[in-house]
């Protein structure tokens, strides 16, 4: 796990960036470049060269580098660095300092990042509740289980949202499901590419319900800010963090569960850092602004009593396997236990869950507890897993597509018929490449692209499917 200090201080200049990320200690060995999946395919851009470009040419030159926009912050380079350079912190800080921002230029034309900035800025009641109601309807119709149960927590514009008091929480826990940007991904992807995003939310609520948890859900939840943070927009990030943290505080949630690897990283590592930064600059009396500024509001959260714990749903499930009626208890006795009938599933570690948070075992524990599934490992797994090829909807090109294609083939050659992941974006990106490969394979003759490519699912969808067969 690396707790990179991307928001650690009020980053002011290049020198500070170089020293805080230890980039000054780079011995130019080039090991990072050898391990970087982007550099491997776009040989002129390497992490090592980006550092030296900044040192010799300044911010302008560094921001013109291909890796400035194409770096995935996946952290593979850091696995090898003998000088322990925090390259991921470096790229995030560089994007923060650069005069020209890293503009989202993937084929989605920046729609998500624009929506995220609008989520930070607009003070209007959102349409999230309707989307959540849509999930209930969908679950009612798909016949895969009982009605979805969750408890809406009013936002600042609560008049639109009657709070139902149906919550039943084991013990003293108030468990909240942080949905993330799934509604937006759903809106953009369901029509054009047919990638099912809403299904992840349905499955998450279903599995939580099966464990006896009726999760709280924020009616006015905002994007966690991950993408804007990694694009260098720290102001918008702070606003989003503040709006979410205040709502979580009001909801009195003490365990926040998410099915998104990026939300998990952001909530667990980056929110506390920003609260601390603002609290200490308020303490030092450095603040000139009024009491309503985002900085002050964040600082005020430092003393928060609820101090929620942020977990990925696979961690939550793993912890509960013993105590609750979680999937997996019937494994040994279940008729589906015969290995011949099990679906072979490979797990794709999302960078934010794996290298960023160090969570490698939880998803594997969940998978192997599903009776209908046999886990296979790919050649590059755990800390060696390769990124899904796109980060923060920032940039996507042939290099990304190659990375995705290679990953799909890797899963196929491991014998997997399903490639499972634990991050909605990994699912979207891998599914996009899969659709493309299949359309080529339709008329093509390349045996590697015919027939045997795996289906892409989220791990929580697999768990929910298994519940449906019980």
């Amino acid at each position: 796990m690396f707790d990179c200090p991307i928001g650690n201080a009020d980053l002011t200049d290049t020198k500070q960036l170089l020293s805080e990320t230890r980039a000054y200690l780079c011995i130019e060995c080039g090991k990072c470049s050898g391990n970087c999946p982007v550099a491997a395919r776009a040989v002129t851009a390497t992490p090592r060269a980006l550092v030296s470009r900044l040192v010799t040419g300044g911010l302008e030159a560094a921001a013109a580098d291909y890796l400035f926009k194409a770096c995935l912050a996946c952290g593979q380079c850091m696995e090898r660095c003998p000088s322990n350079v925090d390259f991921v912190g470096f790229i995030a800080g560089l994007r923060r300092l650069a005069p020209q921002k890293a503009v989202s230029s993937c084929p989605h034309a920046g729609v998500f990042q624009t929506a995220m900035r609008l989520m930070a800025r607009l003070e209007r009641p959102t349409g999230r509740v309707d989307w959540l109601r849509g999930l209930e309807k969908r679950a009612r119709e798909d016949g895969k289980g009982p009605e979805l149960r969750f408890e809406l927590v009013e936002g600042a514009h609560g008049k639109h949202v009657p709070v139902q008091k149906t919550g039943s929480h084991p013990g003293e826990q108030r468990i909240l499901y942080f949905v993330g940007c799934l509604p937006y991904f759903d809106a953009a992807l369901a029509g054009s590419s047919g990638v099912d995003m809403a299904g992840i939310a349905v499955a998450t609520i279903r599995v939580l319900n099966a464990m006896g948890v009726v999760p709280l859900v924020l009616a006015d939840e905002r994007c966690c800010g991950h993408d804007l943070l990694w694009a260098g927009d720290i102001e918008a990030f702070d606003t989003l963090a503040c709006r979410n943290l205040e709502q979580l505080e009001r909801a009195g949630a003490n365990t926040v569960v998410t099915a998104c690897a990026e939300c998990a990283r952001t909530l667990r590592l980056d929110y506390p850092v920003r609260v601390k930064v603002h609290a200490s600059s308020t303490d030092r009396g450095e603040r000139q602004d009024d009491g309503q500024s985002i900085g002050r509001r964040l600082a005020a959260l430092a003393g928060s009593k609820s101090a929620a714990e942020f977990v990925h749903v696979t961690e939550f499930l793993t912890r509960a396997v013993d105590g609750l009626n979680a999937p997996g208890k019937q494994r040994a006795s279940g008729p589906a236990g015969s290995s011949a009938r099990r679906t072979r599933v490979a797990f794709h570690d999302p960078c934010r869950l794996g290298r960023h948070l160090g969570v490698y075992d939880a998803p594997r524990t969940v998978l192997s507890s599903l009776a209908s599934i046999g886990v296979v490992e790919m050649a590059r797994e755990r800390d060696k897993a390769v990124c899904c090829g796109v980060s923060s909807w920032l940039y996507c090109d042939g290099v990304s597509k190659q990375m995705q294609t290679d990953r799909l083939r890797e899963a196929a050659s491991a014998g997997a018929s399903v490639l499972a992941t634990a991050c909605p974006k990994c699912k979207a990106h891998l599914a996009c490449a899969l659709a493309e490969l299949k359309s080529v394979a339709g008329g093509g003759t390349d045996s590697r692209t015919r027939g045997e490519l795996p289906e892409i699912r989220d791990i929580i969808e697999l768990a929910a499917d298994e519940l449906a067969t019980r």
Binding site: G110, T114, L118, R124, G127, R128, Y184, A188, G191
Partner: protein
């Protein structure tokens, strides 16, 4: 304007995307025929309504628009044959985003305007401007 009492009246900022081959010419036709319509709109010419990705519409809102109108050739008339059909599809996504963000569906509109329909263009813009005026400023208070 020193000394004058200025009553801040909300003037909506409307962005109109118009395709080069029909709607832009339609707007031109309105001008040539001296048909009056509210001056609140900023016209952005695009080659085809199919080019107007939902991201463009959101970006307009981010940059301060209170309402966004997308216009193209009538179905069957698109210079690129089916560009406007793709515009129609994309516009569904645009509406979903507008709903989700709380911008509201009434602030986005898709209309077909041919090169000969200057009158129609003017009426649509007029009516849309009034809709947005009623809806009020999207964010904060805008008096200009």
């Amino acid at each position: 304007m020193k000394g004058m009492a200025v009553t801040a009246r909300f003037e909506p900022r409307v962005v109109v995307f118009a395709c080069n081959w029909c709607s832009y010419a339609g707007a031109d036709n309105a001008g040539v025929n001296r048909i009056q319509y509210p001056p609140n709109s900023r016209l952005v010419r695009v080659m085809c309504s199919g080019r107007v990705h939902p991201a463009f519409v959101l970006r307009a809102f981010e940059l301060g628009a209170d309402g966004v109108l997308v216009s193209g050739c009538h179905i069957g008339d698109c210079h690129y044959l089916f560009g406007n059909e793709s515009a129609l599809k994309q516009f569904e996504t645009t509406k979903s985003f507008a709903r989700l963000l709380g911008i509201g569906e009434e602030r986005v509109r898709l209309e077909w305007v041919s090169a000969a329909e200057g009158e129609r263009f003017a009426r649509i813009v007029e009516e849309f401007t009034e809709t947005i005026r009623k809806a009020g400023p999207l964010a904060g208070s805008t008096a200009t």
